[in-house]
């Protein structure tokens, strides 16, 4: 299906313990047969409909809660002054972070010529797109009047004013809309030759017309491929800085804030690592059942799962370092309020959540050092679930509720 040249021979020889990127015996033809048959099969399996039905019901729950939110106001999330963000920013940051693994896989691994990415990049990119769409919901709903959310963009409006460019929320608007655009273009550009394959293989006239229009007249000529390769590389070049910049800007939502526990320089790297960490956990959460369900074990091999596990372990360690630094900074600052914030996090009303977070995000992933664990799909899935639950890493947001009287103005008053 993909344009990249598989170095089958190289993958098979060498260290025999490393599983192949693709199981032996496959040619481009068999790969294409297998994958297009999943899309073009006549009867959609019943299980798929059941899955769709369940998801649909959950979407109805979302619709119900959004209706309640719009009619009641964002106070139901716990937003007030000076706690301007709460539930909404947790969801926003978590979802946007999930997307980063997709971008890392598709862009950075492409530039680094990691050919193993090819088996999982398309679905990881799709995951990114959906994650960005989910993330986008929360800032929109946070405005309280989502139908006026276009006010976030600088356009020649009748109010004669522009958005506040000094606010990190404004930077978010640009970071996320750029991210969404580039991700969509990247995903679609990569998809073009595959859509053309589906067009050529589709049996129904309707399928041919739909795939034909979607593939934009792709014929697979040498010129097409040359342009495709250039465009794909350029988009990869554009996406690569986004992996770092988007979540850096998202972390500024906190770090630019002046509340103890938020105002920290460690936040950008800590957030980027956390994003890739959670993203790879989500990749594993999705891919382990997916390859089983669609019988894709030949293409998404043990190799992919293990590589993902290693990325998860590495980024997890950076996140653990972030937790350590937060604690250390609180002590080193010699600032009463920073210290109180940390002590409150350790032993205060949210202590249970903090220690659950440490278990999920720091302790459990250490099992990935063990080879046997990395080689067990079940164990990998379980650890990925733990990391997913570890979105408790946004505990800083929640426990900041306790800090509501600690904006600098209030601090001065108390010290006086």
């Amino acid at each position: 299906m993909s344009q990249e040249k598989y170095d089958f021979a190289h993958e098979d020889v060498g260290i025999h313990t490393t599983p192949a990127v693709i199981e032996p015996g496959h040619t481009f033809g068999t790969v294409t047969d297998k994958i297009s048959s999943i899309v073009l099969r006549k009867r959609t399996p019943l299980v798929w409909w059941i899955g769709l039905g369940l998801s649909f019901m959950l979407v109805q729950v979302l619709m119900g809660t959004i209706t309640h939110l719009v009619f009641t106001g964002i106070g139901i999330w716990g937003n007030n002054q000076p706690v301007g963000w709460s539930f909404d920013i947790i969801n926003f940051v978590w979802w946007i972070g999930i997307g980063h693994a997709g971008t890392l896989i598709s862009a950075i691994l492409l530039l680094l010529r990691q050919s193993w990415r090819t088996s999982i990049n398309r679905f990881a990119e799709a995951m990114t797109l959906f994650a960005v769409a989910c993330a986008g919901l929360f800032p929109l709903l946070h405005t309280g009047r989502p139908w006026l959310a276009y006010w976030l963009f600088p356009y020649p409006n009748t109010m004669g004013i522009q958005p506040q460019f000094r606010s990190p929320l404004m930077w978010d608007v640009f970071a996320v809309s750029t991210y969404a655009t580039i991700s969509a273009l990247f995903w679609y550009t990569g998809l073009l030759p595959d859509l053309a394959t589906l067009r050529d293989r589709a049996r129904s006239r309707f399928g041919r017309i739909v795939y034909g229009m979607a593939s934009l007249g792709w014929r697979g000529s040498a010129r097409h491929w040359a342009r495709y390769e250039t465009a794909y590389l350029l988009l990869a070049g554009l996406s690569t800085p986004l992996v770092l910049s988007v979540h850096t800007i998202v972390s500024f939502d906190f770090a630019i804030g002046i509340i103890p526990g938020w105002h920290a320089t460690i936040f950008p790297p800590y957030f980027v690592a956390g994003a890739i960490y959670a993203g790879f956990a989500m990749v594993l959460t999705l891919v382990i059942p997916l390859r089983k369900f669609y019988g894709l074990e030949d293409f998404i091999t043990e190799r992919h799962l293990r590589n993902s596990a290693k990325v998860m372990l590495a980024t997890g360690l950076i996140v653990a370092y972030g937790y350590m630094m937060e604690t250390w900074t609180a002590w080193y600052s010699a600032n009463t309020y920073e210290e109180f914030m940390m002590r409150n996090r350790f032993f205060g009303p949210y202590a249970l959540f903090y220690w659950a977070l440490i278990v999920c995000n720091v302790i459990v992933p250490q099992f990935l050092w063990v080879r046997r664990v990395r080689h067990s799909n079940l164990a990998l899935f379980a650890i990925a679930m733990f990391v997913n639950v570890g979105f408790l890493r946004f505990l800083p947001v929640i426990s900041i509720f306790e800090m509501r009287t600690m904006v600098p103005g209030a601090q001065v008053k108390e010290e006086a």
Binding site: P156, N157, T158, M159, G160, I161, R205, R208, I209, G212, L216, G217
Partner: protein, 238 residues
């Protein structure tokens, strides 16, 4: 087998341009509708229960604005005159005119006339007439040449950009306090520059240099605050 005709290639290429053009064009149309009088109500004459002509009373008879709108210098609202104000004159003149039957009826039954509002600001805006009038903003600067309007219409868009155009550069729109209710106020140089008093309502119009110079002096004399304060959110949205 060929599903798509040759022409599809052209259609595809045109639709790339067409798509961009359509998006740009529809955004432009929306922006135009937003600023049009269909949306703002600007320039649309409002029907009143009595056929009262500002042109006649102000332009021809020369009655000052404050004769009827009494609270304009001391209150947030300019004030609508009670029927008594009408009857000051109309108990004597035109006292049998059928056009004024509604006024007399209101007088007899002690029930106010229900005038239709022409200038309606949104409720989230705090606006005070007295501060503007006392700092040298003329009636005509916002309301236009009411002395030329048989039926009054909203002369400005009342959109926020219109408010801010003045709050950002008040010196361009100031006049001496004693000239505030003067509908046709001009100073030397205005005529030469082809500026009419009504020009203030059109944003971006070049005013005569002498007028802007006077405005700067008045801004100092009347101690009008700096643009930063005047354009602060809470100056108008309290």
């Amino acid at each position: 087998m060929q599903i798509f005709h040759h022409s599809t290639n052209t259609i595809a290429k045109v639709s790339i341009f067409g798509g961009l053009f359509l998006v740009a064009a529809s955004l432009w149309v929306l922006a135009e509708i937003n600023r049009s009088s269909y949306n703002t109500g600007q320039f649309i004459e409002v029907q009143q229960p009595v056929q009262f002509s500002h042109k006649h009373h102000t332009g021809d008879d020369g009655i000052d604005c404050r004769y009827c709108h009494t609270s304009v210098e001391v209150s947030n609202t300019a004030g609508m005159p009670p029927t008594k104000t009408c009857m000051n004159c109309h108990s004597q003149i035109w006292n049998e005119s059928p056009y004024l039957e509604i006024v007399r009826e209101s007088w007899r039954e002690n029930k106010p006339i229900e005038w239709a509002r022409v200038h309606d600001l949104p409720d989230f805006v705090y606006f005070n007439h007295s501060i503007h009038v006392n700092k040298g903003v003329g009636c005509a600067s916002c309301h236009g040449r009411v002395d030329m309007m048989p039926a009054v219409y909203q002369a400005a868009s009342l959109q926020m950009e219109w408010c801010l155009a003045c709050h950002r550069e008040p010196e361009r729109f100031l006049r001496p306090k004693e000239e505030v209710t003067n509908m046709g106020w001009n100073i030397e140089g205005d005529a030469a520059a082809g500026v009419t008093a009504n020009a203030e309502n059109r944003l971006g119009e070049n005013l005569a240099e002498s007028r802007v110079k006077l405005g700067r002096e008045l801004k100092k004399t009347y101690r009008i605050r700096d643009a930063g304060t005047l354009t602060s959110c809470s100056t108008c949205h309290r």
